[in-house]
């Protein structure tokens, strides 16, 4: 049932056209000597949602920030659509765990902020922002300030902001981690629905096995620090018919269990 790819190396000839992001031999050593990542090589297939999952402190967020260009790797390189990148680019948009919204700006300005930085005219960027505010279900809150919104709504703003710049690749750093369980489930479902409209390549960091299995096309299990690729798993859940049903699917439960068996060995 589960299509498990044991080696990350297989089928990784660089330049594979369907890989939106390629991570090649990435290593990261922080000043002070902590080695966060060691020789990570991975492909992120275009149009798919790939989760980075692993024990806390395994370098998942570090890897995501390196892909985003917010951190420099100590070794290796990142390719986006075949081209090596240094630093952030218009092809990637980031969604932050703590939302990273400007408290002094309205929802509208926050969502339009990426376009504002690019010098898009006010009327045009606000029209775009309104479209995505509607898409994430926040119509009517354009003029609200972040402190007037709940955590879940704030992250909807974060997602809308990332969508508004029209990047092909969405980098999500534990986007739902600081949101309560019930809202999180709703956000996961809404994210999947949104991704059916917006064809994006998503790289999603989480520490929740259930979340990873539920939302992912592909799950990358990272080992404990220094993080290396431990396994790659494809849950193969069918989300197209019923978003709710997937959580009762036997494939879902089996996959959660299998990942748990693997991750357990990394826990002290």
């Amino acid at each position: 049932m589960l299509n498990t790819v044991l080696s990350a190396r297989n089928g990784q000839a660089s330049g594979t056209p369907e890989a939106a992001v390629q991570v090649e031999g990435i290593g990261k050593r922080y000043p002070g000597g902590v080695e966060a990542l060691k020789d990570v090589t991975l492909d992120f297939p275009a149009g798919e949602l790939t989760t980075l999952l692993g024990p806390s402190g395994c370098g998942k967020t570090t890897l995501l920030k390196i892909i985003a260009g917010l951190l420099d790797p100590s070794k290796g390189q990142i390719r986006v659509k075949g081209k090596q990148v240094h630093g952030p680019g218009p092809d990637r948009a980031f969604v932050f765990q703590d939302f990273a919204l400007m408290p002094w700006a309205t929802v509208l300005r926050n969502v339009a902020f990426g376009l504002e930085l690019r010098g898009v005219a006010k009327a045009e960027r606000e029209a775009t922002a309104r479209k995505y505010i509607t898409e994430v279900g926040l119509t009517g809150f354009e003029q609200s300030y972040p402190h007037e919104l709940s955590g879940g709504m704030r992250q909807r703003v974060g997602v809308a902001r990332a969508l508004a710049v029209d990047a092909d690749i969405l980098l999500m750093d534990e986007p739902f981690a600081s949101i309560d369980e019930q809202t999180r489930r709703k956000l996961q479902e809404d994210l999947l629905q949104l991704l059916q409209i917006e064809k994006k390549t998503v790289i999603f960091v989480t520490h929740s096995i259930e979340e990873a299995v539920y939302v992912s096309d592909q799950i990358v299990l990272l080992s404990r620090r220094p993080g290396t690729v431990s396994r790659i798993i494809r849950p193969n859940l069918d989300h197209s018919t019923d978003l709710e049903a997937a959580r009762r699917d036997k494939a879902y439960l089996d996959c959660v269990d299998e990942i748990w068996q693997t991750l357990k060995q990394y826990l002290v």
């Binding site: 680019g89 980031f94 400007m102 990426g114 930085l117």
Partner: protein
């Protein structure tokens, strides 16, 4: 339709505020807030009145006598004349100082070089007892307006500089990451993220700076040349008219509080759309 959206919106945000907001202090209904404030003043002034009636010292007047003296001084123009003199060095000093000190603090926050060069100076200045430096000011700048302006600036600059510096340094790292990930230039990052984020602490610094500036000008008037309110205090003490002396002191406290409050109002009205 529009009504319904507005209503549901209000409902939601109230729910949000109720559920998500960490409530550190208990809520007091707004009519009771005034009551508690009045009680607070009544306790202080009542205590003052009692202390004056015992009396704790022959030179300590009652609250009522002080208020009567304050009324007299207001009516005969003594206070107005004194403040006309006092506010000159204060306003001049604050204008010069607030612009330069904010720029300096922001510069220190943004550049390591400026920080290493000047942070120690301002930390020492803030820790130093400024009153002890006043004779030095007289030595350098004489006894005129310049000396008083310098006294105001010396008192208020360190607080404004250090607050602005802290404001810049306290910018949320994730907001900085956010602006970088959306490819902000350094200039955009400073103007659109760092400065708005620091503005709260910068304005807090300005408010504290105004209070310190008032201290500076009064010190200068007491220690350099007796003019303005400082002259009133010195004069009434020398002729042992203690209610008038205390009324002068009380007037400075009121003046300073009003100035600080007005500054806060202006900040809220101009720069805090979210509140």
């Amino acid at each position: 339709m529009a009504d319904r959206t507005a209503a549901s919106r209000r409902g939601l945000s109230e729910e949000v505020a109720g559920a998500g907001g960490h409530q550190i202090v208990e809520r007091v209904p707004s009519d009771r807030q005034w009551l508690w404030r009045l009680i607070s003043f009544a306790v202080v002034f009542g205590g003052w009145e009692i202390a004056g009636r015992i009396p704790v010292s022959p030179s300590f007047p009652t609250f009522s006598a002080t208020i009567v003296a304050l009324g007299e001084m207001l009516l005969d123009g003594t206070l107005a004349g004194a403040y006309a003199e006092t506010v000159q060095p204060l306003i001049l000093g604050m204008l010069l100082c607030s612009v330069m000190a904010v720029l300096f603090g922001v510069g220190m926050g943004l550049s390591r070089t400026v920080e290493w060069f000047s942070l120690p100076i301002f930390i020492i200045l803030q820790a130093a007892p400024m009153a002890a430096l006043i004779p030095l000011i007289t030595f350098l700048y004489g006894i005129g307006l310049t000396a008083k302006v310098v006294a105001v600036m010396l008192m208020s600059a360190p607080i404004i500089v250090l607050n602005s510096y802290k404001g810049i340094r306290n910018t949320s790292p994730s907001l900085l990451d956010m602006s970088r990930s959306f490819m902000a230039t350094r200039r955009q990052q400073i103007v659109k993220i760092i400065l708005p984020s620091a503005s709260g602490l910068i304005f807090a610094g300005l408010r504290l700076g105004v209070a310190a500036g008032v201290t500076g000008v009064v010190l200068a008037e007491l220690l350099i040349t007796p003019t303005g309110v400082g002259d009133l205090i010195t004069y009434y003490r020398s002729v042992a008219e203690y209610p008038h002396m205390f009324a002068s002191i009380l007037s400075i406290i009121i003046f300073s509080s009003v100035a600080v409050t007005l500054l806060q109002r202006a900040e809220t009205a101009l720069f805090r759309p979210e509140t």
